[in-house]
Symmetry: C2
């Protein structure tokens, strides 16, 4: 149906044209995982570092050391408040880094932790986060092997910022590449979407809501390993659906692969209390950050075994197939709404939920 | 001369008793690299993470992946101001991480960069730092393979904080271990001390001085590689003399090895303008941070070749032998002053120069 030539042309439009970074000032939107973040990364950071690994815009960069395939990744965490139902900044930092390695097909081996602490922070609050990090690292089966601590004057940081970096070993079963996504591939999500971001908003008490929503922070390597075992090379690509939610992860992959993604809105798992809070917030749960939810693209023959494997992994019991890859319109995500309509699900332009991780 | 038993007993006092972290609040001193930092690391972080690699308290943690010896390290940079004579936060972040790998005997392979940006930061200031990082990475022969950007509201960060992490390959020629330091070993320093911290203080214009002092920020892998080639296993141990200066690096190593270090004050290279500024500041240059100076402990037979190799490395022309390892008093650093006196050079208790890196 599609002319190869035409597709190539369109792919070039979708992938080849780098956005230019033209903003004069940094805004909250540059940290939100939407359009402004993309412009900053693709228009300034990736070109400056001229890095092939960065160019892939994956969750981790790949490094070969004497024939051994490794992955490295880094993330800063500036979530406010630092403790919230279901987790805290320390647990988030460890799981976030473990998950960036996992969705890149790498078994987490080692972490580093760098803390920026605010002068006057209570030692007990620090102790609690250090213990949360140690517990999360232990639960994920990974060791913290190096660290750093800086202190800044009162007011120049909110309690603490945490930067975790991770080293992983690429799993030989993984043959993941954004470029390998093809029309017909199935799109899976590993659990109910939007819980983390909603939990943070409620913890800030900006809504006056009393719902008990817990963050979904969890390590995803067990889920990834189960899928690798079940689907092998049929597993095309994964993304950790953090900032910007599932919508942003799907948009990034659609754009990077020059394909379209068609999502069935009614197939997307959302906890009822999250759906209710999101409605009050006026935000689509698909745009709300998760900290323990991945999206996976799987070739048709691998979709059922991968989904079954996912559902058997801890915390992924509600995993679902939410859509399918199409050829047209390339680089875009379309949603079939519950009411029979169809609309574009674009990248976010602003930042409705700042500092959720 | 020394009884093995007695030495073991003393070594245990110097090494075995972990300081307890009893402070109720985090203070600037916890980030200064002196006694308070040590208490935080040894009394809280290392025990919580139960990490053998962290326990070594080296500049990088060691990881073995399928027989391959790797090193990983991380550092946050919160220097104020972000640009200063001789460098900037971006260059500092790259060189600092490269140097932590280098002094651990690891050839730098890959870096990650995580930015915490302040809302309202000028894009040109960000662009300048990204370019500084790219240039420093290129000069150090290392690729930036992964990154992250967060934005926090105006006032919750000073322009930007930068966290760099690094992956290195342990050089097979390196057999570095703090425990291998022996009485009789020579202590080398790779260049004039105290320039970086002094440059930062002058850049803050808190002194009203007009001296032109430039930061010593530079990558040290070429110097390390030259020493490994020249001295091989005679090279016992190295430290990057950053926060807390050469004095803190020597104290850490003396304590970790249960030996004494005797330093000849007049042998320590100090630029005259740095000595003058330090005198005005009332700080011993040995306590002032460097960002391109290492200390190395070398067995007697390797000291001359190592020093010659150092002096041939870029930026290390003024390298010098500044002292020798003694058996007594274990865990301590003694200074023979220029006036014929002798005094203890202890770890700093406070933080005379906050946020110099």
């Amino acid at each position: 149906m599609r002319s190869e030539e035409r597709v190539l042309g369109i792919v070039e439009t979708a992938r080849g044209k780098r956005p230019r970074f033209r903003d004069e000032l940094v805004t909250m939107a540059h940290g939100a995982g939407g359009k402004a973040s993309q412009t900053l990364i693709e228009g300034l950071l990736a070109p400056a570092f001229e890095s092939a690994a960065l160019d892939e815009l994956g969750d981790a960069g790949k490094v070969e050391a004497e024939g051994l395939g490794l992955a490295v990744t880094t993330d800063s965490f500036v979530v406010r408040p630092i403790r919230f139902p279901g987790g805290s900044i320390g647990e988030l930092a460890v799981n976030g880094t473990v998950n960036d390695l996992a969705v890149s097909g790498a078994r987490p081996l080692a972490l580093t932790v760098s803390l920026v602490l605010e002068e006057g922070l209570e030692a007990d609050a620090l102790r609690a986060e250090v213990e949360a990090m140690a517990a999360a690292a232990s639960a994920a089966g990974v060791e913290v092997v190096s660290g750093d601590t800086k202190v800044v004057e009162r007011g120049h940081c909110d309690s603490m910022y945490v930067c975790t970096s991770g080293l992983g070993r690429l799993d030989p079963r993984a043959a993941l590449a954004t470029g390998s996504i093809e029309p017909g591939d199935r799109v899976l999500v590993s659990g109910p979407v939007g819980a983390h971001g909603t939990a943070i908003m409620l913890a800030r008490d900006e809504l006056g809501l009393d719902a008990e929503i817990r963050s979904d922070t969890r390590p995803l390597w067990p889920a990834v390993e189960a899928m690798l075992e079940a689907a092998g090379p049929a597993l095309r690509c994964m993304r950790d659906a953090t900032r910007g939610g599932v919508a942003s992860a799907l948009n990034e992959l659609a754009r990077a692969s020059g394909v379209a993604v068609e999502v069935g809105e009614s197939a997307v798992p959302v906890l009822p209390e999250v759906a209710a809070a999101a409605e009050l917030l006026g935000i689509d749960p698909m745009y709300i950050a998760n900290e323990g939810v991945l999206v996976a693209f799987v070739a048709p023959e691998g979709a059922e075994p991968a989904l079954a494997a996912l559902r058997a992994a801890p915390g992924c019991e509600a995993a679902a197939q939410i859509g399918e890859v199409r050829a047209e319109p390339p680089g875009m995500v379309m949603v079939d709404t519950a009411f029979g309509g169809r609309r574009v699900m674009d990248l976010l332009a602003g930042d409705p939920l700042p500092r959720i991780c």
